[in-house]
């Protein structure tokens, strides 16, 4: 990974060894959490798998919003495109191998990312937000219109993924789907960690902090963001593909403004600009929602709203962001 060059100046530089090992700790933590959740809630695997799919969407939002500073309320377009790509591959082209379906999802997400990026990046501030909303609504309408391909508002059904590696079937208990989800999450998370430390990741953080400065050093802000949008589409598309496989149905809601807004809310709850924040925000939001909506199916929205307000008041950097900040201050003392 890192070459140790004692002869070079780099060898004398105080290298932040902490962060590299933290990467591995993070991956281990995800795996550990996955196992703990499996043991604690063996009967909730369907929900947990859905959470993983949405985690990918929120990670994808984090890539453009948290890392690059592009606010979006239309990111479900990428997620839904992935879900429909995987679903259509299975339902219309007989591509039922789960890995191939995930690949189709990633490809669909990337294409949607490119299209979204081309439009959304033309705006700034509020205009950008509105462009992203327009995009997701256009995608939604297009999917509604193309009912012969997408099933329209009835949803795309008849998605029957074949067993994973020919062995593990996707059944009612959802163990296979959960396992596949965790494996994909670990891979995606590992790659995104690498990405966030790469030169490209640095450039993106630079763009968020001062795009004019980035342009003044000769880098193209637009091209960089577009590239990030495509990567973001890949990630969201994998999540969408996973959802198509695990639920075996794709609905128009996966291309909705509502889902887009929820994803952004989850990200902000967890803490923007950090991969952990994206995961924690999604898990907290969705498990909390599941809990309160089961406890009181009729009036849970109020409690949900109170949670959001509470986060702003008491953890304005998001749950992870605030925790990290407190830890940082504690370490400095």
């Amino acid at each position: 990974m890192d070459a140790d060059h004692p002869a070079s100046l780099a060898g004398q530089v105080a290298r932040p060894r902490f962060s590299a090992s933290a990467d591995w700790i993070g991956l281990a933590a995800i795996l550990a959490a996955a196992i703990i959740f499996y043991l604690l809630f063996p009967n909730n695997l369907a929900l947990l798998t859905r959470v993983i799919g949405i985690v990918m969407l929120v990670l994808s939002v984090d890539l453009v919003t948290g890392f690059c500073g592009v606010a979006t309320l239309g990111h479900a377009a990428l997620f839904g495109a992935g879900a429909y790509a995987a679903g259509i591959a299975a339902a219309h082209f007989g591509i039922t191998d789960p890995i191939a379906m995930i690949a189709a999802g990633a490809a669909g997400g990337a294409v949607a990312g490119l299209i979204s990026g081309l439009v959304v990046l033309r705006g700034h501030g509020l205009g950008q937000l509105v462009l992203s909303i327009a995009i997701v609504n256009l995608f939604h309408e297009a999917a509604n219109k193309a009912a012969s391909w997408t099933g329209g508002s009835d949803g795309l059904t008849d998605i029957a993924p074949s067993p994973l590696f020919g062995v593990f079937a996707f059944d009612l208990w959802g163990r296979t789907a959960y396992g596949l989800g965790i494996a994909l999450l670990v891979i995606v998370f590992f790659l995104l960690q690498r990405l966030s430390r790469s030169p490209f990741g640095m450039l993106c953080r630079g763009i968020r902090q001062d795009p004019i400065r980035v342009a003044a050093m000769g880098a193209s802000v637009r091209k960089t963001l577009l590239k990030m949008y495509i990567i973001s589409g890949l990630v969201a598309g994998v999540g969408g593909g996973l959802n198509a496989i695990s639920t075996q149905v794709v609905g128009l809601d996966s291309l909705s403004f509502t889902l887009s807004a929820q994803a952004l809310v989850m990200l902000v709850i967890g803490g923007t600009g950090s991969l952990y924040g994206a995961i924690i925000g999604t898990v907290v939001f969705m498990l909390f929602e599941d809990f309160v909506s089961a406890a009181n199916p009729f009036h849970w929205l109020t409690i949900m709203g109170a949670l959001l307000v509470g986060v702003v008041l008491f953890a304005p950097r998001g749950i992870f962001g605030t925790a990290a900040h407190l830890f940082d201050q504690w370490r400095r003392r």
Partner: protein
Amino acid sequence: MKRMLLAAVAAIALSGTAGAETIKVGVVGPFSGPFAIQGKNFKAGIDAWMALNGAKVGDDDVEIVYRDLPAANPAQAKALAQDLVVKESVQYLAGFYFTPDAMAVTPLLEQANVPMVIMNAATSAIVTKSPLVVRTSFTLWQTSVPMAKVATARGIKKVITVVSDYGPGVDAETAFSTTFKADGGEIVESVRMPLSTTDFSPIMQRVKDSGAEAVFAFLPSGPTTLGFLKSYNENGLKGAGIQFLAPGDLTQESDLPALGDTALGVTTTFHYSVAHDSPENKKFVEAARAAIGNPAELSFPSVGAYDGMRVIYKMIEATGGRQDAAKAVDAVKGMAWESPRGPVSIDPESRHLTQNIYLREVAKAADGTYYNKEIQTFANMADPGLAAAK
């Protein structure tokens, strides 16, 4: 904690002595969000049934487990159903307001060994997706075809259809158009408008310009119907004598107080009016109104839920409380009873309800409230949609 433990011990002890089981029924519906009123009606129908018939079948207790699904979201529907089956060990799945949600769950049923009783979702094809599906609501074909007959009978020759651009809307349009054309009528234009439409004036202008004698409309029940009917009146269509034809979703009872005089005289075809005159319905309405709290909120999903519970009770009885989905479904095939909506029976082949469809007119009662007054009956309608699909 201690109390919970005690309760658990007590529960085990009780079940041991009595030999009775708790049979869980998972109900998925929109209990919050924009369609909360429909979910509330599910619950009212279920509560009414249990209030009138007890929470026990034989020795077995029946427990309802509610899950909220605020808007059509098939992926979440499936996750919820999976959780209900795996975690809550429900023996029956019921509810389902939206078609895509019901569709998403059907592939699970066989493996889960769970019958599904649909209390609303109204697209014909759902029952074909699994032999374990039984539906106690209606289909859009069922409610739209009679309207075409009414139009022909009234001597209307030219109709424009205006529907919301989504599955049920397209269903209603096809059902009406096919029937109307077969009877020699002419569809001058078919307009599909996005679900999000709020200002209907331009649509009404189009209707006016089309030269049709009547407009056949379908929109999902709720806020938009108000705007639609108002536009119909205010843009002078009513005045110009263009007749308004629609399935009963547009004048569901819970919307009537808001629609007020706007809806007066509007005729619709539907399977259930809260004002249906029968002793069975009186009993039901009384119980259901008590359950829902605000009597004005009671409308059609409640009757689907009420009859759904009747079917589920029959299934529990037939299986003796044991989990056997195929046997349970077999037991209700051909089942016939007097529902609050009128006489109904379950078609053994399609597992869908054969029922009367009524032509109704919105009228004002003596106490100033509005109701759907039944003026004509189309008896024993099976689902024409399935026949058409073949």
